[in-house]
Amino acid sequence: MGYNALSALKILMQFDSILYLIGGGLFGMLAGLIPGLSGSTAIILLIPLTFGMDPNQAFLTLVSAYGASTVGGSLTAIIIGVPGQGKNAATVFDGFPMSQKGQAAEAVGAAAASSAYGGIFGALVLAFLIPVMRQVVLLFGPPEFLMLAVWGLSVIGVLTGRYLINGLIAVFIGLLLSFVGFNPVVGGIRYTFGSMYLWDGISMASVFIGFFAVSIVIDLAIKGVPIAGSRAKIHNAFKKMLVGLMAPIRHFALFIRCSAIGTIIGMIPGVGGIVAAFLAYGHAVQSSKDKSMFGKGDIRGVIGPESSNNSSAGGAMVPLLAFGIPGGEATALMLGALMIHGISPGAQMLKNHLTLVWVMIGALILSNIMASLVAVLAAPQLVKVTTISPEYLVPIILSVSLVGSYSFHHRMFDVVVTVIMGILGYILKRFDIPTAPVVIAYILGSIMEKSFFRTLQIGRGSFMVFFHRPIAITLLLITTITLMWPYVSSALKRRRKTNSISNKGEGA
């Protein structure tokens, strides 16, 4: 194994490899940046270019694009509040408010550093897991996914803002949105109003672009002031960004936990960076004593999702390399590319093409570092966007976002749905209904429902199946404890107070 790692290193240090790494990475970053395009888009476009290359170089290009794209997506998420791709959505919740307070540079610094370190974490885990990859993937199935989704939804409790009822409405709206379409687990078409285009549900792109981009645009247009406020000037952007760079180190334990969450979730086929980012955000909120700043610009709300979504890339490659079963869209494309190059993923690949596996791991690490460096260098200029008047910003964001929503299926229908989602998002804002629970419920709602029914199908109609799934039960316990803890700890505190008062009385 060491020999293969060394030859991989030699390959990566070659001049043309470095060129491909940088080229693929920059391209991936750009695709991640533009709302509506994503790392997968970059891979799709790059695959034909890699046909003539040898497998090592082909895959270092593709993996580099994949790794760098998440960093690109975080930039737009923070600066204009529009996630460049789905997995950067959670970064908006606290990244954008920081931008609105004029702290965009610090947020970008934190995101870049978290992404780099998180990406390295994920790649290292991938490397360590090579001998036991297969067993790890097999640990998770529908009962575990169900518990993960429940845990994720439980997080919403802390994100409801001022009024609990508003938070509940947000959750219900998100769940409703997730129910639209044909349910492949139990059959049945819901809320499609007869349209074939809604068969697959309201597309995630429409929800994200609509809720974030379009509703922000509406807000900007109506208010008429720049993102960072009417008299914002960005001073010392570079210095502030350096402060941000140290953020994951300052909150090291949180960073490690969120990277771990991302890597594990990324390993689960069918669930991806998006869920990893949301769960990490939720964990960041739940695990902090002072939750008051979340949603208003707490830097931990940037560290969490950004370390998680980058580490999930490493995780997503585990089922791909172990079984040839892709963890998500980007890895599905890589699977196709592997087949085109005549390589069958699985135990065979780990035996015969181990050098290539190391090249891919190395590319993942290097592309994360490179993309973060680029982000850091570009940040001082990029953050000035927050001072641009909406007259210029609104048309640009709007047209890029709508074109992005069109780009998925080349259908105007998707654009219309996006606009409707945008209007819905704006209405929710005006009524003080928080967006985070809507988006979380939308994503986790369908996972939860499908996993629930699949669990029952596996158990042939009975719930007994849960009792044979230690991981699922553990997750359920963790969720229950995290939910109950605030009540339990304050009850304990009260008892201690009462005891000490009575003790004092007795001792006096």
């Binding site: 993937v137 529908p142 044909f182 059959g187 068969w199 079963i325 494309l333 699985g346 135990a347």
Partner: protein
Amino acid sequence: MKKREIFNLSYLVFTVFLIFVLFSIPVFSQTEKNSEAYKDNDTITLIVPFSPGGGYDTLARLIQPFFQDEIRELSGAKVNLIVENVTGAGGVIGYSTMFRAKPDGKTIGMVGLQGAPFQQMGTDEFDLREFTHIGQANIETAGLMVSAESDLNDMQDLIDRSKQMPILFATSGVGAAEHIRTILAQAILAENGIELNADFVHYDGTGEAMIAILKGDAEAMISSAGTPFDLVNDGELKVISIFDPIREQRYPDTKAITEENIPGGDQIADQIFGNIRIIVAPPDTPEPIALILREALVKTLNKPEVQEMARNMKVALQHASAEEVAGKVDRLLSLVDRYSDIIMPLYTK
């Protein structure tokens, strides 16, 4: 809202309106009429109804450059063939798009006959009989897979075990090909007096379904024979029956279902298959164009480079002519008709 806000809002609405108008211009622009089949710089779009990276997409991109060259040679025009993924509704959106496209030779598509006849009956968005058929590109038999550790070693074992407890089949979704194959097998066996009891777990894709079998969450799946190949090689899964009269080369130790002399086995081998992928053009595509496309397809599939790449990617290429395809389509549609009372409920719940 304040006056200033309403003012700003109206500007916004105007901008959105403008963007929509700009998008619609291409729709209203005129197109020229062609006198020959193809002209230089014409773009032919090959619609793939599924996402990039999957079996259909890989096959399309594999043949694309060679198909393009053959069409150029036969038509004398420097045309461009591009692959476009039009996904959704399990392929129906792609099929519907191909069906409604202008029959000018600039749009063709790939259809999978393991699902399309059923989807046609269920959704009524296209008609396989009305397409202008170009030809078949690949065909694969169906195979029954189980975990390598399973006690089941052939179809008879499966049927026997199902009498004690229904076999838990994994599928890639309600109404997906694996689901339909199993229900059809059950129906055919039932007609011959054999009871196969089945329960189902529906996943979001064949990959997840295979992992389920590896984990033991599900017991079996009837898929395209090539699907589990890599995992069989790794020793994780085994294919215990091939739904064909002859054994499959890739699994020489696996019995063909006809060897087991199960009543209905011959019918299963005849009517249940893994996949059949065909190329179609919209209804009423002119003969000259159809002829060019048909001949180009045959030549493409016969090219040694194409066959070698297909072997490397484990894609089973096999050509059949437009007439043969039309025949298969008819047979499949009457099959769907015959079993419509067990199939239709899957789509119309």
